[in-house]
Symmetry: C2
Subunit: 352 residues, 2 copies
DNA sequence: CTGAAAGCGCTAACAG
DNA sequence: CTGTTAGCGCTTTCAG
């Protein structure tokens, strides 16, 4: 065995050096190695140097979980829980979360929420993730009383996006305002018969989002002395395909709505497909407004209500790490800005 | 303290029961609890029942990392490494990976590859993640010789997507064929002056992807007795905005290309914006073909070369878990299918 | 300033 | 079938 080769402690595992290996190599005790490597005081400079050299030689990397176990400390990892990953919204939220976590030296676990059916059972139980994780971010995943209690009991730091709970900080947008803004824009353009591409019909993951947005739209419509026809609210599951189907249904209603309000840009994209299929021109025959400001909304000139989704994730993560760093502050409920972005998909209604 | 209250072992931690607590509550040894709860044989049915009841009462959940430590076993978690999360491609790959991991009971860590600059340093070192993880999936993240060696030395199971390395299984598509297919389609429509929206100019993350696709396009073009003008290859960073700029540049060239080949749908969306800004009609003035089959490609009627991205992630994860389950097979290099999807954005070139 | 020793929560022989 | 005894790799008193 050539010099410099890692000292093998026990077994034939030549591939992973332990603190013991480093200790032997440096000619000190494991306790000293531990102190030296963690930059604790009370270690002679010369000793520390020797230890660091040995650690580098051996390519030693401490086992974080053994540390956690021994120290009773946190594991420096957090989880983000989303209904699913491959949608623009969630991917962007996760990106924001990840950036901040990485920056703070935290590992990020991504968990998809169990199906609504499974949601019936204990959330925490479903993940069995206490102990492996210091904190969690729930994105549009409904937490009931029991969940909140359990999470609290487990001393988990929690931040929610899209839901306000008593004990946990949250990052939100005013979804009522979102719906109102979009509808107002359409009303100002002279539209009175407005179809809505909404969320799930049942078992909602995004429980309150569609409702709030619809409520806002209704506010604006009623305020204008009009009414929101329940027949013109069709679920589109927040997906392109769902939006296509929903728009297909809406555009078949008579009289046809003169404007469509999609509760997400992706559903709006579906509406674009449906309109094309039916030979209906946007905005010539019908105006269309979405929500999100997906990059593609710009590409297709979709009028939309923008929200800064990456920022939401980043703020939530920042709040979480902040909590984890011991700040015992009142849970803050941030309200992120929204903004109407007018593009070519909405147009003043042609007077018949 | 009422009956049923968790027995406290040591300290005042009333919130997390240990195997010891369960043992006391059930009146057995910790070893028995361990066996009972893990469904090992050699446990009396009655004992097992008692232990399970106690565990349930105490809301006991084993500490996976303590188990791992004790058993020298794996930690049942894997990491997926991507350049970034919030792009259609990576979000979908991650979704595929996540689904399979969750199904197999593995936790999924999401890591973004350090900047190319940071990539210079040891990848593994950068993440410091040996031991916390059983395996890794690298998605379009270049692994050099040293990385491969280190990963192997650490006994990490590895699967790559978008790169073939000697020792690790991989999931790929034939990117040369992608470029060839797209270009051929344009050529068949009579186009001879084809602009390409390519990848990064320097410091490529998706190192070989753009090159291969361009090579394929060149193959097809040369085979048709034409040539690919280097001035008509402009980097677009695989983003909508990058594509917009690149297309702006290309559409300013004289003579203007009659067709644009975007190496990703997102860049193609950017091209759509650029064309609109310049008052250029697609496909009237210029044809446009993308790669991916983004949901939105359908919405805007974009001709594209489809790849099943979620499937890529799923296959990679399946291969990884397979390896983790001890299958010591030759690393397979799966080649996933691609398919030309013709829509409205490409049209036969008007003879001048 | 440093080492010895006692665990963290759990599993793995090895005896019974 | 079940309890006892060692640790896994690391941190942390507590003595030097």
């Amino acid at each position: 065995m050539s010099p410099g080769t890692p000292t093998i402690s026990r077994g034939a595992e030549t591939w992973r050096s332990t603190i013991q290996d480093v200790a032997s190599a440096a000619g000190v005790s494991v306790a000293t190695v531990s102190r030296a490597l963690r930059g604790l005081p009370n270690v002679a400079v010369t000793t520390r140097a020797r230890v660091e050299a040995a650690a580098r030689d051996l390519n030693y990397r401490p086992d974080r979980h053994a540390s956690r176990l021994a120290a009773g400390r946190r594991s420096r990892s957090v989880a983000v829980v989303v209904p699913f990953i491959n949608s623009w919204y969630f991917a962007n939220v996760i990106a924001g979360v990840e950036a901040v976590c990485a920056d703070g030296g935290y590992d990020l676990l991504v968990l998809t929420a169990p199906s609504p059916a499974a949601r019936a059972m204990n959330l925490v139980d479903a993940f069995g993730l206490d102990r492996r994780i210091d904190g969690m971010i729930f994105v549009e995943v409904a937490l009931d009383e029991a969940d909140v209690e359990e999470l609290t009991r487990l001393r988990l730091a929690v931040v929610t996006i899209g839901q306000r709970t008593r004990p946990f900080p949250s990052v939100n947008i005013d979804n009522v305002a979102v719906g109102r803004t979009a509808a107002q824009h359409l009303i100002e353009l002279g539209h009175s018969r407005i179809g809505v591409l909404a969320g799930q019909a049942e078992d909602p993951v995004n429980f309150n989002v569609p409702d709030d947005r619809i409520a806002g739209a209704r506010d604006a419509i009623v305020a204008a002395g009009l009414e929101l026809d329940p027949d013109l609210i069709v679920p589109g599951q927040f997906t392109v395909e769902g939006g296509r189907r929903a728009a297909g249904t809406l555009l078949a209603r008579t009289p046809m709505p003169t404007a469509l309000l999609a509760l997400s840009d992706e559903m709006a994209f579906g509406a674009v497909i449906a309109a094309r299929e039916l030979g209906i021109d946007i905005p010539g025959d019908v105006s269309l407004v979405g929500v999100d400001d997906h990059e593609v909304a710009q590409a297709i000139g979709l009028t939309t209500v923008r929200q800064e989704v990456v920022e939401h994730g980043a703020r939530a993560a920042a709040a979480l790490l902040h909590t984890l760093l011991g700040a015992r502050v009142e849970p803050t409920h941030e309200l992120q800005p929204i903004e109407l972005v007018v593009r070519g998909s909405t147009r003043r209604r042609a007077v018949p």
